[in-house]
Amino acid sequence: MDDRIRTIEQLHGRYAGVLYDKCVRLLGDRTEAEDAVQETFINAFRALADFEERERGHLPWLYRIATNVCLKIIRTRKRKGAKQLGDLEPAAPGSSDPAEAAHFRTVLDRLAGQVDERTMEIVVAHYLDGIEQGEIARHYGISRRAVVKRLTSLRAKVGHLLENGGKHA
């Protein structure tokens, strides 16, 4: 069997579950989250040659791929006029904070189409994954100051969007 396939299978065996957790939290839909995990590994399979050893482990790399896959699903939903993200199921039955998860999806829903893709990725990395600003800056090849600037202007925008749209309208 091809080495790439073997590598991806090993990564799937080790990380698919935690990626599923991330996708459920982002998408609020378990079947869509399963699809997103599959797409994440297919994208990883295509990009395996680009994975650099200087990355701090495979999981942060896979997390970023999963973010892109989920944001694409969210944009498609928005284009098709699908239901609001915040109206989907809580992150998980018995979630530690389903209201927080639903609120996060509402924010993403409001932001989709309003800010560029890179900013959306930074929002997810910072708020959902809890990645430090310095680490985000390193991943995206921008300065830490640029990350802070994006997050600051984004806070103002989100505050404005929520005030005008209601939290779960």
């Binding site: 991806i8 995990v37 297919i42 999981l59 998980a92 530690s96 927080e100 929520l162």
Partner: protein, 272 residues
């Protein structure tokens, strides 16, 4: 600056917790994080939530892995897309030698050529099936061995690794075959359901279970190639009566170059 977004507040980064669950942290780092989590209720709940989701996904890990493997193999064997201007370099020499090729072809045809040997049944396609049951306000996933009741509504979610044809039917305890998708009698309408892409297909509507009690097989057939439903149903029905329910074997018996998944449920009378 105050945070009007309401997004701030996570104490332990989710990625860190995921790394802990995956065994990615060095022993010292893991111990320090565990101590931190121990003192924070929110982090403990988050960790429990991650573990629960991991468990949920891993309960179906073999199926997920099979689908992923099939997609990777398909991707690997697919020819890479070549831009049209680069394809010209293949066409031009071919055009230049067209006349000579015609002569060669004539020679070949007059001498005859060997038929390629028919390969053994080649199994293509990967299939993952989820069945969701609705009973009143309650919804639950259906697993093999599950007890269901008359009137339960079933919804089928079928994930395939490519375009192809799907047929969903049941075989009840009396050996009666009931087509679910497509609903029409396969003798009058032999075509299976066509899906034109890889991915998750939520089959429209739902199936309401009848009152035939006892074991019932819910069968999903997927093949990249079109097949005759009635014949396939009958072959699978016979195999289910006596033989093992191995997916590959069922596909072979049915004569489809794809996959067959069977979920066997137990239909019971409504409880008190």
């Amino acid at each position: 600056m105050p945070d009007p977004t309401g997004l701030e507040g996570a104490k332990t980064p989710r990625l860190k917790l995921a790394q802990l669950v995956s065994g990615d942290l060095a022993p010292d780092e893991a111990r320090a994080l565990e101590a931190e989590i121990e003192n924070d209720e929110g982090s403990r709940q988050q960790l429990a939530e991650i573990r629960k989701n991991v468990e949920e996904y891993e309960a179906d890990a073999d199926r997920h892995m099979a689908l992923l493997r099939a997609r990777m193999v398909a991707e690997q064997s697919a020819p890479a897309a070549v831009p049209w201007w680069r394809r010209l370099r293949y066409y031009l020499p071919a055009m230049a030698t067209a006349a000579a090729a015609a002569v060669v072809a004539l020679l070949i045809f007059t001498r005859g050529f060997e038929e390629p040997t028919e390969p053994d049944v080649a199994f293509k396609g990967a299939l993952a099936v989820k069945v969701v049951a609705k009973r009143g306000p309650e919804q639950f996933m259906v697993a093999s061995g599950q007890q269901l009741r008359e009137g339960d509504a079933l919804r089928f979610v079928v994930t395939t690794d490519g375009a192809g044809y799907i047929s969903v039917f049941s075989v009840d305890s009396r050996g009666k075959v009931s087509p679910f998708y497509p609903e029409a009698d396969p003798r009058g309408s032999p075509a299976p359901l066509r899906v034109d892409r890889a991915g998750r297909h939520v089959l429209e509507g739902s199936v309401i279970l009848d009152d035939a009690l006892g074991p019932e097989h819910l069968v999903v057939v997927f093949s990249p190639e079109r097949f005759e439903r009635a014949a396939v149903h009958e072959r699978i029905r016979r195999q289910l009566e006596s033989g093992p329910r191995v997916s590959r074997l069922l596909a072979q018996v049915a004569g489809v170059k794809g996959r067959v998944e069977v979920i066997t449920v137990e239909k019971v009378a409504e409880g008190p």
